[in-house]
Symmetry: C2
Subunit: 386 residues, 2 copies
């Protein structure tokens, strides 16, 4: 049975097996999961309905046996199309008891009355349920001990299966085709917010299911930041335009960007672009099992700042069911790369105060080294009509 | 100063004044906010960067004086374009201290060493930071007492200003124009997933900044559910197609749907569509200050099930900075409507087991009654090429 946009059962069974081995080691009787990516990881439950924050969703992963979904009735029919057989639902929102007693019962049943329940509590995690209900749950399931999941979800999700890698490669290809068509929609005189809208349309036309993320900027010889919404200012000759997108197909993200020069670039812009490409190459060169996240940071930073450390913070991160997930390319991250890890290489340069350039590619770690998932950009910044 | 996509300072000052009046009444020395909508409500900080779950963001709203933003350095330049002057940032992610001590200091400074800090803990809320950091914060700011925010954020955000209503009306108009163009992209033989992609493109072309939400379904005489992703099955004569979208412009959502018949509808489909329209009319008729959310539910439910209660759960909800927010049209919600509340009317019918139809419109409550923000659909289901 393959749920809409999901994988065959074997994929989820393999994930469950790996999780249960880690749970045994960590002494956990169950995992309690509440977020979209964590729940989908074990079930294949794929829907954009998570955009509504009203209803909580729960998955109980026991130390042995199959997962139990404790979810609002509105999702029961879709969950029934996954391999999860034990689905318990209530009509949400219920102001008296929004799934809490149903969840307490499922946890107690699967973890035992005094079991230890792992909940992702570390970096990048959050508990997607009201704190008041979290407190109620702890009171209601009084014998259970709730602890950190010992990083199990983070470790599991960091290493992708071939099926997952194929998904990420597919969406990278889609975004790559959209980037190749940017000259159709952008050039001197076109307002940046119009470029943003048209670029999202290109992504959809090329096959993205949706475009959860688009950021970027445009300015003379660089842009001020990479998170602001697009304004109505028209592109002008001499601008550097950057578009950075996280598109999704069948639940997996790409996350890479491209820079463009509006009209011929000046020498500084051309050189900066090529330095970013060289930095990506330097990291890709050493990206293989055994190297650390910090090693990749330093390889890029050496070329970018001569080893001074980048103000931009991190120079890349893990990627998969979320736009960003898992490791960070920063000096403090000593995670050892493993085959199957998917990450972004994202070097940045400050050309002048308030003028930056950022470049980004997506790779998967293979035993033989870096395998590019995004259609690798070369030296020579692409030029738009100026 | 108006931040990109935001409002003039006066809007945020008015919100702060109302919040501080409520905080005085509730005995709160400060509010601690962690989610996109809550932080944007007081600041105007608008970015799609929230798609990345890696970094936590914090806003401290003191009982008197101005808000303090405690945020990752990557957002400092954009926050500086808002009216918030006190911005404290760190280079995130920091594995040793991801903003916790900075936040503890800001809270202690603004709430006093033994102040009571309100955090949204009720229905529909969540704490967007790792639980482990939440525990660290409580240990670090040991004298502070963290309590529920007494529903302050929920109550504040429920009643929209004229500036907010204008935003919601604008995006409703954009989606309405996209819906009017559905005959250009859908008809017998077109796969549903292609319709989904093309519809999002129409929304962008008509002026949406992005399309965070699109759901729907298609099937003979109704659809099975409204949250599944679209599959490749081509539309066929006799299908009912439904598209339900949450598009965004300048940070505000619409949330409404339209049904279409592929080829001429049969009598049951035509009648069901008109019954949904009548249900909307019945609710709109009584939607004015003083009526309750439950009253609107019952007005619709009477027409839909003869008062048996709908299996669909709720028949509408609040709307604004989120796809769904605030009140629910369910029997248990006795919230009194107030002028300025924006909500959806969303009646549903089960035509046969596993065959439903849902219709949705958006209204704002005025002293004189319901004012439609979505271009109100009439009786007579629109027909696509069959």
């Amino acid at each position: 049975m393959t749920p809409p946009g999901g994988f065959p059962d074997t994929e989820y069974r393999a994930r469950l097996d790996r999780a249960q081995a880690m749970m045994a080691q960590a002494g956990l009787a169950a995992l309690l999961l509440t977020t979209e990516a964590d729940i989908r990881y074990f079930t294949g439950f794929l829907t954009r309905f998570w955009e509504s924050p009203t209803r909580p969703w729960f998955l109980v992963v026991p130390a042995s046996g199959s997962p139990v979904a404790v979810i609002p009735a509105i999702g029961a029919a879709l969950m029934a199309q996954t391999w999860v057989k034990d689905i318990r639902s209530w009509r949400a929102p219920d102001y008296d008891d929004d799934g809490v007693s149903l969840l307490a019962e499922a946890l107690t049943e699967r973890a035992g009355a005094h079991g230890v329940v792992g909940v992702p509590m570390g970096l990048e995690s959050h508990l997607r349920m009201p704190l008041s209900d979290w407190h109620r749950l702890q009171a209601r399931a009084g014998g259970l001990a709730f602890r950190d999941d010992a990083g199990i979800l983070r470790r599991l999700r960091a290493v992708k299966s071939e099926a997952e890698i194929a998904r990420i490669r597919a969406i990278c290809g889609i975004a790559g085709r959209a980037f190749a068509r940017v000259p159709e929609i952008a050039g001197a005189g076109v307002p940046l917010d119009r470029v943003f809208r048209r670029f999202q349309m290109l992504g959809l036309e090329e096959g993205a299911d949706w475009v959860p993320y688009l950021a970027g900027g445009a300015g003379t010889g660089g842009y001020a930041d990479v998170i602001s919404p697009a304004g109505p200012r028209p592109l002008a000759p001499g601008d550097v335009l950057m578009l950075d997108t996280g598109m999704v197909r069948d639940g997996y993200f790409c996350d890479f960007d491209r820079n463009f020069s509006v009209g011929p670039p000046d020498a500084a812009t051309a050189a900066a672009h090529d330095r970013l490409i060289d930095a990506v190459d330097a990291a890709a060169e050493i990206a293989r099992p055994g190297a650390s996240a910090a090693d990749l940071f330093h390889a890029m930073d050496q070329l970018l700042t001569g080893g001074q450390g980048s103000a931009a913070g991190r120079l890349g991160h893990g990627l998969g069911m979320q736009l960003t997930e898992g490791l960070s390319l920063i000096p403090a991250d000593h995670t050892r790369l493993e085959a199957g890890m998917v990450l972004t290489l994202e070097p940045g340069l400050e050309l002048a105060p308030g003028r930056i350039m950022v470049h980004e590619e997506n790779i998967v770690i293979r035993d033989t080294g870096a395998d590019f998932l995004s259609p690798r950009a070369g030296r020579g910044i692409p030029v738009l009509e100026g």
